[in-house]
Amino acid sequence: MLRFILNRLGQSVVLMLIVTMITFFLINLAPGGPTGAMRMEASPEERQAIIERLGLDQPVIVRYGQWLGDALQGDLGTSFNSSEPVIKRIFDRLPYTIELTVFTVIFSVTIGIIIGVISAIKRGRAQDHFINFSSVIGLSVPSFWLGLMFILLFSVELKWLPASGVGPRGEAFDLVTYLKHIIMPVIILSMTILPNIVRFTRSSMLEVISQNYIRTIRAKGAKEFIVLYIHALRNALIPVITVIGVLIPRLLSGAVITETIFGWTGIGSLIIEAANSRDYPLVMGITVVITLVVVLSNLVVDLVYSKVDPRVKNLA
C-alpha cells in the first residue's frame, strides 16, 4: 500500500512538471506578449521599458528555471497586470469557483442518484429508456447555448432571475438574491456531470441489487423501499462518490464556460483574462492550482478505489 501511494505521488510530481513545462513554453513562445496588453498608443520605448522590467528579455529556458525555483519554494510570482502576488489574485477569485462547484456537486449528486436509482429499478422499462435518452441529450446540448436559452427565458422573457453576476456580498448579502443569482449557473454546470452520475449510479445499483446479500435481505421480507434505499443504495454509493473525483477535470472545464456566460467572477473567468493579457505568471499560477486540484482528487480516488476495489491495486 505504501509503495502504491509513493508510486502515485511520484507520478503526480512528474505530471505537474510536464504540465507546467508545456504551459510555460506554450504561452511564452506564442505571438503577442504582455506589452501587447498595453494601450495601443504606447511607444516602442514604453514597451521596451516594460519588457526589461518584467525580465522578458531573458531566454525562455532561464525564465522557466527561475519560475520553477520560485514555485518550488511556494512563490508563484507577481501578476504582470496588477503587480499583486499571483496567489492573492487567485485566492480573491477562488471562493466563487468553489461556491459554484460545491453547489453543483451537491445538486448533481442528489438529483443524479435519485434519477439513477429510478432508472435501475425500472430497468428496461419506459422510465429507464426515457432517462437514458435524456442523459444522451444532456451530454449533447452545448452548455453555453443552454445557458443563453435560460437567460432568454428566465431573465429576458419572464424576468425572474438576474442574467449575470454573483450578487451582492458582504453587508448587502441577502439569501434570496444570492440563490437567484446562483441557480442558473449551478444548473448549467450540472449538465456537464449529471448524465455521468446518472449512468454510473444506474450500473452501480444494478450490480449491487444482483448480489446475494440483497437477495437474502429481500427473502427475509424487508420492505422493498428499505431494501433499495437503505441497503442497496448505501453500497452503491461508494463508487458513485468516487466517480465525482474523476469528474473534477470536466467540472473545472465546464466552470470556465459557465462563469463566462453568467459573469461569475471565479477562476474560470480569471484564466481567460490572464490569457488575453498574456499575464504569464497568472496563467502559470492558475494552471498550477487547477492541476494540483485535479492531481490530488485523482490521488484520493485511487486510494479510495484501491480499498474498495482490489483490482486497482493490481494495476499499480
Binding site: 501587447g36 511607444s43 488575453n276
Partner: protein, 544 residues
Amino acid sequence: MKTKRWLFLIMLVVTIGMIAACGSNDGDGGEQAEQPSGETGTSEPTQGGSVSIPIVADPTFNPWHPSAYAESNVINRVIFDGLTKFGKDGLPAPNLAENWEISDDGLVWTFNLRDDVNWHDGEPFTAEDVAFTFNEIVLDPDLGANNASHFSQLDRVEVIDDYTVDFHLASPVAALPAYLSFNTEIIPEHIFAGEDPWDLTSFNKENPVGTGPFKLKEYVSGQRVVLERNDDYFDQVAYLDEIEYKVLADANTHVAQLLSGELDIFALDDTSAIERIENADDITIVGRETPRFFWLILNHNHEEFQDKRLSQAMLHAIDRQAIIDTVLQGYGTIADAGIAPILSEYYTTDVKRYDFDQDKARELLAELGYEDSNGDGFVEKDGERLTITFDVGIQGDLESIAQMIQQYLIQVGIDVQLETMDWNSMIDKVVIQRDYEMTLNWWRYPADPDLTAYMHSNSADGNNIPAFSNEELDKLLEAGAQANSVEERQQIYLEAQQVMAEELPYMFLWYPQEVQVRQSSLQGIPDLAFGDALYYTNEWYIEQ
C-alpha cells in the same frame, strides 16, 4: 433604420394594443435622444444619494501604471486631479493649476497652482508633488509610464516656489495644457518617494490617496469599488454621498442592469441594445461628440500601397453612411480628416470628400492599372490580382465593420482577405511588428488638433502606424504645434485638414459619437462625453 424602427413599433402595437391608443411618442425613441440634458435641469441640486457605474475589470489606482486601462481611468480621474481638466467648452480648464502662461519662445510654461488643496490623508498638495510626478515617474524611461510619449518634448519640471512650477520643453508644444488634462493626474510625493511606483500595491491596489472630490471607501476585487465624498475637496464639495463602480465584464449585463435601475450612467459600447433602451421609461440616451476617429489604413511601407489613388478608390467604394447606420445605429458622422467635430474651433468640412461611388472607385483603380481583364470579378495588374490581407483585432464593433468593409471592397474587385485575431496578437503584429497590409482601428486623442503623433513622418516608429510621410503635412503639423494663438492655429489646421483629406494618411471613416445612457433622475451631468463628465462628479446630483 427608419423601417426597422417602424417594424418594431408595429410589433409593439400588436402585442400591447394599449400603446396604439395613447399613440404618441413611445415608439419614437429618437426624439428623446435629442433632448438636451444635464444642466438644463430646473430643480435645485439635492444632497445625498449614490451613483453606480460599470467597469469591465479590476482597476489600478494609479493613472501612470502601465496596466491602468479604461476601467482605471474612469476611477482615477475622480480620485485624483490633473493640473488641468477637460473644460465644458472643450478647451483645457483650470484644475490644480489656477492659470498658466507661456514664454515668448514657447519653451517654458509656468503653472500657478492652487494653495488650498489637501491630499485625502491631510497632507498639503504642493509644487513638489507635480515635479515628482513628472520628473521621477513620467520622465523615467525605465518605468514606461502610461502616455509618457505625450511628454517626449518635456525636459523637466522645475519648482519655482510651493505653488508655482515651470515646464521646460525641448521644442514648443502648444497642446501642453490639453495633454495635461488627459489621464495625467498628479500623485503624492510623500507616499511614492523612494518607492517603486508600480510595485507599491498598498497604494495602487488598496489605498490610493488623491486630491479629487471622492476618495476610496471600499474595494473588493472582481466585485466593486466604492468611493465616498471628500468633504475637504478644494472646489465645490460633491452632492452625492457615494459613487459605486461595479465590476461587470459583460456588456449585456450593463444593459440589463441599466434597465433594472441597478446602474446609473455609462457610455454604451453595444449599440445593438439602443432599441431596447429607447423603449424604457426614465432612461435618457444622448449622443456625445468625442475626439475620436475611426480609420482604415494601408501600410505605406509597401510600395504598391503608397499611391493615394488606391486609398481614394477604397473610400469611394465603401458606403460609410450604411456602416454608420447598421453598426453604429446612426451615432456617427462621416469623417473627412482627423479633427473631430468636438474640436469645433478647428473642425471643417471644407475639404475634399469621398462620396459612396463605386464607379468612381473602379475608375481610380483603372488609372492605377488595376482592371478586371479575365472576368473573375477581381481586378488585376500585369496578370496579378490585387489581393490585400486585412488584419483586424477583435474588440467592440471592429469585427462587424471589417466584414462590411471587406464586402464593399470585393464589390469593386479588390480581393480582401480578412484575418481577425485577438487584440493582443493584433497589437503585436500590427503595432509592434508593423507586419500588415491593411488594418482598421480608431484613435482617441487629447482635445487638441495636434495630430503630430499620428501622422508626422517622425512618428513612423510610434503612432504613425501607416508610416505615412508627406513634407507638406509635416510642416503644417510642426507649425501648428508651435503656434500660440487660436486664430493662427485655426488657419494652419484648416490647411492641414485639406492636405489630410487629399493625401489620406489614413482612410478617415467616421467620427463616432459616444452613446451616453443614464437614469433620467441623474442630473448635473455636463454636456460632455461620459469620460469627460467624470471631471465634474462634484456637480452630479439625483433629482428627487
